[in-house]
Symmetry: C2
Subunit: 413 residues, 2 copies
């Protein structure tokens, strides 16, 4: 670094000043702010003691319907860009559907597995990095060996991916957050999607876990377009290759959203049979709240402009503070996402853990360094995920200044 421009003593003074404030700021998780949740408060009023019958006459209070209400199926099929026969509606957690889908592959195999995955010597998954720690935790729990692959600006490094899946039959799957990737913010290009859909794989049952968590979560008015991965897989002759996941947790109410899985009819038919043994059906009253509140995709898109209006200033503040404090010193790089929930910050090699520790001393809790890598192991110790959604704008500015000072201090000593 151009350390000539850095005055260690004055940095220490700024750091000590943060410590003296006893801040308690948290930028660890992609959690909506109360103001974002307020946008969906109306959802809590559209179902009441006098109004719980769906448009098709279904009593939303009672048992029945694995996928719930027809109207909810229709809305979220459109959200996922599939037909209702290609959809499974879940509860309040897309993570649970992802977890359960992999559990089923381990226990029973997929529709084109030679045998259940637990009967194989080794099952491996490709993990584009940096990535989402909760994806990695599912693999770790299930004993699925994780292999990191690097990310480019338009998705995973496809030469690497293609070479690995072509030669290694233990590789049965891959995690992707294709739009506004967690945490890097990348959106997969059509070319990457076409190559993922078409690439030859040594395993007959290779599955892409397509966690499209931020499908409508734009921060810009001209968002990038994401190609429909299921249709790409069909066109490439690999219709069973992808499981696509979605959720309204960051659209409606974070703890009371609805989640979904979309895939080929053959995949869905097999998974529905297994799921019918697990549950009688989803909470149709909560589906009814969603259907009545959003009405249609236009309702969802309009609603998300409200989220963007609240989130954009926070993301701009992250970039502004980092630019102001760090740009001239050449000590870090960071993403400038067009949507989603995260900023990915890369320190110089070997400093991420130190920065997170210093930030905590300064009163700012960050996601643990390493969390964005399989097994929590960042070999370069450079990546830190910043989640600016929950704190207020003033807190984001304050937290980012503390983080910047932590980066500068770590880079100077």
């Amino acid at each position: 670094m151009s350390s000539s421009t850095l005055d260690l003593a004055s940095l220490q003074v700024r750091f000590d000043a943060f410590k003296a404030q006893n801040l308690n700021l948290n930028m660890t998780r992609g959690k909506p702010s109360p103001e974002q949740l307020d946008l969906a408060n109306g959802m809590l009023d559209v179902v009441s003691s006098s109004d719980f019958t769906a448009a098709d006459g279904t009593d939303a209070r009672n048992y029945g319907g694995l996928n719930g209400l027809t109207a909810a199926e229709a809305l979220f099929a459109e959200y996922m860009e599939v037909s209702p026969s290609e959809l499974i509606m879940g509860g309040n957690s897309s993570l649970a559907i992802m977890h359960d889908t992999l559990v089923r592959a381990v226990l029973f195999g997929t529709v084109d597995s030679p045998k259940p995955w637990h009967k194989e010597d080794k099952i491996s998954f490709l993990c584009p990095v940096p990535g989402y720690d909760r994806h990695f935790a599912v693999c770790e729990l299930l004993g699925i060996h994780m292999m990191p692959v690097p990310m480019n600006a338009d998705g995973p490094h496809m030469d690497t991916v293609e070479a690995l899946v072509r030669d290694d039959p233990s590789i049965r799957g891959m995690w992707c957050v294709p739009k506004y990737s967690n945490p890097g913010g990348q959106t997969y290009s059509d070319e990457v999607i076409n190559r993922l859909a078409a690439m030859p794989t040594a395993a007959a049952d290779f599955r892409i876990m397509w966690d499209n968590a931020y499908a409508v979560h734009h921060l810009v008015s001209d968002p990038p377009h994401l190609k429909n991965m299921l249709r790409a897989c069909e066109s490439a002759g690999n219709p069973e290759r992808v499981y696509m996941f979605g959720s309204t947790s960051k659209i409606s109410l974070a703890g009371a959203g609805v989640a979904m899985l979309a895939a080929s009819e053959r995949n869905i038919s097999a998974l529905r049979k297994q799921r019918a043994v697990q549950t009688i059906g989803v909470d149709k009253l909560n589906q009814l709240r969603h259907v009545r509140f959003f009405n249609d995709m236009n309702g969802i898109h309009t609603h998300m402009t409200g989220h963007a209006a609240l989130l954009k200033p926070k993301f701009e503040a992250v970039d502004a503070v980092l630019t102001r404090e760090l740009a001239e010193h050449n000590v870090a790089t960071w993403s400038k996402p067009q949507g989603g929930y995260f900023v990915s910050l890369d320190t110089r090699p070997g400093l991420a853990k130190r920065v997170v520790a210093l930030a905590e001393e300064a009163g700012v809790k960050l996601t643990p360094a390493g969390a964005t890598q399989p097994y929590g192991n960042d070999p370069e110790d450079t990546n830190i995920r910043l989640a600016p959604s929950f704190p207020s704008l003033a807190e984001v500015e304050q937290a980012m200044e503390a983080v910047a000072v932590a980066v500068l201090l770590a880079s100077s000593t």
Copy 2:
């Protein structure tokens, strides 16, 4: 049978009259009636756009809290007669918690399994019969071999159970619906519970799946008491032996209840770690609806007297019609439950399937014969489960008359 008293021609006339009516009555599932659900409609109004904060200040809309709200934990710990540290709160389906708990045993083993169950040559479960088809479906899906054991009036035939589990190390568990058993209506006696808790088992990780689905679902004013199974297991030195399940699906709203699992702290601690990989947490808004609507156990008990008032006439009608039509002919026996959702009807051997088919011809859909047995196979072909909760009282009377005619006809030909 005393067929002298039966006039086949007039039976056929009655049967044809039912057919001519083109009835469409359904007694297949234990589904609350709309009037029962109406009792909990107030739950849909106690959380609104202006009132979503829990008593402890938690914003029930956002992420956070694997078990959800402290107040919900407290209420449902009391409901399950355990402490909050012995409790996992689930979503809207106790079946899902049961399924997932067995999935975890298969994938990872329990806290005292020598190895994951999928690595064993054979895993067996005892299934008191008649029993609940959805329990059996979970075992069948997971490849768990089911062994039927007979039921007495006070629970499973314990001499049989004790002999089997003592000698066969493949027997790792047992299904129990200990109160108002599905479908027989039996409540387990203290003696049965003490023997279940204390019996030596060849398997170190023997687990009782204690599905206490009808804990507060009484039809009588002086309900039988059910001994606390977790405490019985602790007293017997086998604290890890039982997983207890509960649900408000038949207390609040059938599709939008909350479910729970109670067990020893050691079991719960291991299961919570695995569950934290599956989900970020439960729907706290729905927990808040429950906490505000019921307030405490008194609220639940009072609420359930309303259910009893609606259900009792239907159960009395089942007994009255069967007594009137069948008693003198000695062609069937049936249960007279003090609570729960079912009447268990036994025809003469070899006739249950025929009765169900005839009833369907007469316009009354019954649970398929055999459903109350593992693999759907009733070796005697005698047992039929009747579920009188959903139809109106007039429909129950009409349906039961048709069923009775079907029994008489099957017994006469």
